[in-house]
């Protein structure tokens, strides 16, 4: 493993561990042992995904969900969104660490990828906190509202980026 790959992999693992640790520490006391077991499993799955199979990152995310969802019962629900962003960051870093394999010595590449993921995670954090704040107004109507908002955000982003991605065809002069 080259340097950037190790750094990205370490960052990914750190994100998973941090999300689970927060969930275990701040979560309810009674189911803590069970959550801790899930957290250990999540860390192991993250390690496996980083070392052997990148498509196993889903396992790490799934195993991290108990720790994150436990915050709902501990009156720390506002942390659910940020921890989700942390897990998203872990998955992104895992993917980039695999992409770094054999990518050459160019140091700009991982930096660019990190910057893109950081922007995505930053926007995700802001939007998720906004959704949470909106949901706090009323439980059920808030849920519906933020559901519509979330879907709307995704659709708008999709449409906008698709329009931007409608590019020229091969054979056209460069720059057109």
């Amino acid at each position: 493993m080259n340097g950037p790959r190790v750094a990205l992999a370490a960052g990914s693992l750190a994100c998973v561990v941090a999300a689970n640790t927060i969930g275990v520490v701040l979560g309810p006391a009674q189911p803590r042992p069970l959550i801790a077991v899930c957290a250990l499993f999540a860390a192991g799955a993250a390690l496996f995904a980083l070392l052997s199979r990148e498509d196993r990152v889903g396992l790490a995310l799934a195993a991290s969900l108990p720790a994150v969802l436990a915050l709902m019962a501990a009156d720390e629900a506002w942390l659910v969104g940020p921890l989700g962003v942390l897990l998203l960051g872990a998955a992104e870093l895992c993917a980039w660490s695999w992409e770094q394999r054999g990518a050459g010595p160019d140091p700009r590449l991982p930096v660019r990828r990190l910057a893109r993921s950081a922007v995505l995670c930053g926007i995700g954090l802001v939007v998720s906190l906004l959704c949470y704040a909106l949901g706090r107004l009323h439980p059920w109507s808030g849920t519906l509202a933020v559901f519509v908002a979330a879907v709307g955000v995704a659709v708008v982003v999709w449409v906008v980026t698709r329009a931007a991605g409608r590019d020229r065809q091969p054979g056209d002069p460069p720059g057109t």
Binding site: V68, R108, L125, A154
Partner: protein
């Protein structure tokens, strides 16, 4: 030197796509069922990632070509070229030139590039080295593309380079093996028959009709009556070179086989002999003995085909039936003796009266150093097996020489001359 090809690549999902969908949809559904809006906040970042990552879907058309400056080169030479790529849009692109067994990368020139958020067209310089003789495709261009922040990957082979003819390096020979029987055309091998020529054969008393220029004045003076010189006519012969290219994947052995074969064949052709070749190891290939410039090209083409077969390890097969060899030909087998069948074939030729000589290619020097006692013991056992096969050949009167890395072709000729010495290598009539 290649046509630009437009290849349509279908998208494949990234490893993150399904987990993101599962988390987002699961969190939304549970939020709706339980009425807890905080869960939607968990889904939102993943929904955003999905929205951005699936912005670009559908197949991707990539135009690519791989050009090189030559299609014919010698073993060890370099070929310069370029990969030209074009694609629509802004993509993160990984480009790989995958080389077959006969071509290798030349450091520090890369065969893999990573382009971040790049737009086409791009031109990437390529330098390759010809590591092994034969007819090889110069390389295949593979591409893996993804949109920036994308969750889909487009991957596939987009171009294939031209086929190169890599010729083996020629070793100089200054001596020739004498073929088994000279043919009735002019050449440089003295025939066992008597006739016009330069090499002295015998003295005999003058008979009417003999040329005066053949009178041996010294013998005439001693015997008191006229004697004339008789000569061997210089005639050409037939040589069949057998290439056993079945190796353990060590291309150095193949290179040595090729160099020796080409050197021996070239010199015999230059001398007016008829030269044929049989390839064993990959696909079975045979070129009947022939002479002249055309035969030279045919021989070269067959050698290159044999070299290509040898690199393609999937095509290795053995021909169980008897291989036909002209009755008068000298058979020179170049083999590492890795397969026992080669011994049987040579013994069969010998039993049918062919003149056979075997050069065993010793490739121990290209093996890595043994790392354990087990390695050492295994190599000793293998060497004993090789010696046993050599003994099986010499027992039936086939001269065998070992050939190392230096002076290969010359050592073949010298060794076989020394070992065969007119009784086995040359069976003149």
């Amino acid at each position: 030197m290649t046509e630009s090809t437009g290849k349509v690549l279908s998208p494949r999902r990234d490893g993150r796509l399904l987990p993101y969908v599962a988390v987002a949809v699961g969190a939304l559904v549970v939020a709706l069922l339980t009425g807890k809006p905080a869960l939607v906040a968990l889904a939102v970042p993943f929904l955003l990632a999905l929205g951005v990552g699936l912005a670009r879907t559908g197949p991707l058309r990539v135009s690519a070509r791989l050009d090189v400056d030559t299609t014919q080169l010698l073993e060890g030479d370099r070929v310069h070229g370029a990969v030209t790529l074009d694609w629509p849009g802004r993509l993160d692109l990984e480009v790989l030139v995958r080389t077959p067994g006969g071509m290798v990368a030349v450091q520090p020139d890369p065969l893999r590039w990573t382009l971040s958020a790049a737009t086409g067209p791009v031109r990437l310089p390529v330098v390759l080295g010809a590591a092994h003789w034969g007819r090889h495709v110069v390389g295949e261009v593979w591409v893996r593309a993804r949109a920036p922040r994308g969750l889909l990957v487009w991957q596939g082979r987009v171009a294939v380079g031209p086929t190169l003819r890599v010729l083996p390096q020629v070793e100089r020979l200054n001596r020739l093996l004498d073929p088994a029987e000279s043919r009735a055309v002019a050449g440089v091998h003295p025939s066992p028959r008597i006739g016009d020529g330069y090499e002295f054969a015998e003295l005999r008393p003058y008979t009417p009709g003999d040329r005066l220029r053949d009178l041996n004045w010294g013998a005439t003076a001693r015997h008191g009556r006229p004697y004339v010189n008789r000569h061997h006519p210089e005639l050409s012969g037939e040589v069949v070179i057998v290439l056993d290219t079945y190796t353990d994947g060590t291309t150095e052995v193949l290179a040595r086989v090729a160099r020796a074969a080409w050197a021996i064949a070239s010199v015999h052709l230059q001398a007016g002999d008829r030269v044929g070749v049989i390839g064993l190891g990959g696909r079975w290939r045979q070129l009947n003995p022939a002479g002249g410039q055309r035969a030279r090209y045919q021989l070269l083409s067959t050698l290159l085909a044999i070299g290509g077969d040898a690199v393609d390890t999937t095509s290795h097969s053995w021909v169980p039936h008897r291989l036909p060899v002209p009755e008068s030909a000298l058979v020179i087998a170049l083999t590492p003796l890795y397969r026992r069948n080669v011994v049987q074939v040579c013994q069969d030729w010998r039993a049918r009266g062919r003149a056979v000589a075997v050069a065993v290619l010793d490739a121990r020097d290209v093996l890595p150093r043994p790392t354990s006692e087990l390695d050492v013991t295994a190599r000793r056992l293998w060497q004993l097996e090789i010696e046993r096969r050599r003994a099986a050949l010499t027992d039936v009167g086939i001269p065998v020489v070992s050939v190392g890395r230096d002076g290969l072709a010359r050592s073949v000729v010298t060794g076989l001359r020394h070992a065969g010495r007119a009784h086995t290598v040359r069976t003149g009539r």
